[in-house]
Symmetry: C2
Subunit: 438 residues, 2 copies
């Protein structure tokens, strides 16, 4: 029987510092729960001088990565350096040394997760990644254990706090996208390079991980349609509001006759739906299961302490497994390797949903009829049309809400509409609409 | 190595039927996830004839409880008969036979949980009770595992769907309590005897279970202040609405200098707080941890399938433990027995909070001054006063919002106010106010 469990932490950035703080400051509580002390024995970072505002015991922090990876006393390695190459090498090396690994690295897991999971399964070690989706929200455990009796009908999530903060500012302060982004950066909610957040790539990574767990299928992220929020204007958000709706960047997954539909894009949702109430940097994931009905988990999707909370929960889980020699008790993807069945990701053209279209048109009689004609020709039926303000001969927005239509038809129709140079002055903005529950 | 795990179910009522349906209909998915089939081998109920609308295999359903309890092939027994005596006996007998147990019985666990948990720990078997709080919401796992790295700052929950449905009807349809209750009964949301739901006792049981898990302390339910919703009127809800607030029946637990404050009562909360958006039969639990910040879990708090989903998740968890011989991996209360430390439940008189008071007073000059005088005399300062409608000489409601005051002072002052027979025509209604987050 071990007298303590030794932990190595690689990467003392924001989340690494939060993780170390929790392991150090809540050490007694953690030991009480787990029944054995968890010792943060080594921290490795290139920067060993900057004061992170936490009391790291002498001799713990170094830049000696090989020393950590080969230290036989270390049971669990926490990877918090981010990125693909070094992070993957750290994880695979740690696994090869028989160590359990914990990570918050959604990009790595979404793209190279299969390699990491397969190596861990072969080595009989655990991989914890609760922190990879939704920060401190216990969504990974909920998908793999708490809701495990359910056939997953759908997962719809606000998965990126930066994008949600920007959309919230655009709604509440009537800011334009670039101003809201600048403010998010000033507040430290957005990184200097915000590409992953605003282009939906971070949300894609998180959605891919959840689809993997919920449906027991490997996911090729390249097959998942992904669109960011940069083309959304304050005007769109204003019109949405008048229609009783809110724009959110959503990751959406649903089953359809054995296929899985998976996509990330700005989405109009009803103001009364629970996700519409999720503002600022908060994340939320709404899961529908065939038995449980709908469940939503809500919380801070990023930040040192919330993400650290999830990292340490995994460390505690693995510590409980180590004591009972039960590592691998829940496989990384929650399905044993031989029970995972590849499922087809339905191509985006096969989607049918409702659409919000903002056409920038010249304000003169007959224009609506021309545009409606194109839509009708492609079998797209109009639910409502809104044109506010009259400026004869000027460009004005024409807002069209469609009934349910196919993505393929809508894209073809929009191509035609956008080519009507005498009528349409700039490319039409399209926002997909998500009906409650479906 | 076992080739399958055998399950016995006691009690084929609403939740029992939902549980059986999930085990039968999602059998393949469950086996894929757990890596081994889970066989619903025996179901015991006094009624073996009523058609429950599920295809129970021949020979499974009987009224032979002793036969089930002593069947050596049964690994896990699910107790879904409810109540105290028989349920407790079933659980203790099953545990004595070395069987793992799963239950949705919050009343039993809140009152006799210590006996059940101690017996299970001695016998080295697992007790699953995810279904005891919040129906299908994975809150038990979140407290014991997902948020386990946190010192729990507070738990605030809408824990009873019946009460929440009634309050929602009173708000949205402007119904009075008795009408809303009758409607809840007609819709099957409230039982013929709704005492436990509307008097807050069911919420108390659920709160006690969560406090036990979050703080590692046994809880004596008699020490937890509990007040129901029967005295709330449509008028109170209307006034609350004018103040930008909503009335919810909440279970509240917080730490204070080593004490735990735990209470159940109707509460005024800000319309913008996430719990205010939880309507109808939904439940939600808002947890604040020192690391994770605030997290909320939301879903259907009752019903055959949501509750069955939680029951089966426990069965799957135990099946995973059985295969790895890791039963007891997470102790029932999440703290090993020797790490549980009794914590004082702070008596209600020591509470300080804000109050909404509705005094039914005779409408004549000087009345407000008299009432304000009594409050001032007891050190209770008034934040706002609202008196709508004038009916000289008639009884009218006087709505007083106080600043933060002590429960002891408020109760003493109310006693005095209620004795002012020439001014006050009926006992004053008091509703405590919960400020955001604290």
């Amino acid at each position: 029987m071990k007298s303590q469990i030794n932990i190595g932490l690689v990467g003392l950035g924001t989340v690494g510092t939060g993780t170390a703080k929790i392991l150090l400051e809540n050490r007694d509580l953690i030991a009480r729960r787990v029944g054995i002390p968890l010792e943060l024995k080594r921290i490795v970072d290139l920067d060993v001088t900057t004061d992170r505002g936490i009391a790291i015991p002498d001799g713990v922090l170094s830049s000696d990565l090989p020393g950590l990876l080969t230290d036989p006393s270390i049971d669990i390695i926490i990877e918090l350096i981010g990125g693909y190459d070094t992070a993957k090498r750290v994880m695979l090396d740690a696994i090869a040394q028989g160590k359990h690994v914990v990570t918050a690295n959604k990009a790595l897991l979404a793209v190279h997760g299969e390699d990491v999971f397969a190596a861990a399964t072969r080595a009989g070690v655990d991989v914890g990644f609760e922190a990879s989706v939704g920060g401190g929200i216990p969504i990974i455990r909920s998908l793999t254990e708490g809701l495990a009796a359910n056939r997953c009908v759908s997962i719809v999530g606000i998965l990126n706090g930066t994008a949600n903060y920007i959309l919230t500012q655009m709604l509440k302060e009537k800011q334009e996208f670039t101003d809201a982004l600048a403010q998010a950066q000033a507040k430290g909610y957005a990184e200097a390079d915000p590409t992953f957040d605003i282009q939906g790539i971070d949300s894609l990574h998180k959605l891919a991980i959840m689809v993997n767990l919920a449906y027991g299928t490997p996911v090729n992220v390249k097959e998942v349609f992904t669109e960011g929020i940069a083309q959304i204007t304050a005007l769109d958000i204003q019109y949405a509001s008048e229609l009783g709706m809110t724009v959110k960047l959503l990751g959406i997954a649903k089953v359809h006759d054995g296929d899985v539909e998976a996509r990330v894009h700005p989405t109009l949702i009803d103001n009364h739906s629970p996700l519409a109430q999720v503002h600022g940097v908060y994340n939320a994931i709404h899961v529908v299961g065939d038995a449980v009905g709908d469940v939503m988990l809500y919380g801070q999707g990023a930040g040192a302490m919330p993400t650290g909370s999830a990292v340490v929960s995994d460390v505690m889980d693995i510590a409980r497994n180590i004591q009972r020699q039960a590592c691998g008790r829940v496989p990384p993807t929650s399905f044993p390797e031989n029970q995972r069945i590849p499922i087809r990701i339905r191509p985006m053209e096969e989607l049918t949903t409702r659409y919000y279209l903002r056409c920038m048109v010249v304000d003169r009689p007959g224009v609506l009829s021309q545009i409606a004609g194109v839509l009708g020709h492609h079998g797209i039926s109009i639910m409502s049309v809104l044109q506010q303000g009259r400026q004869e001969g000027q460009t004005v927005p024409l807002i069209i809400m469609t009934h349910r239509a196919s993505e393929r038809s809508v894209q073809t129709a929009l191509k035609e509409i956008n080519q009507m140079a005498s009528v349409v002055s700039q490319p039409t903005t399209l926002i997909r609409v998500e009906d409650e529950e479906r």
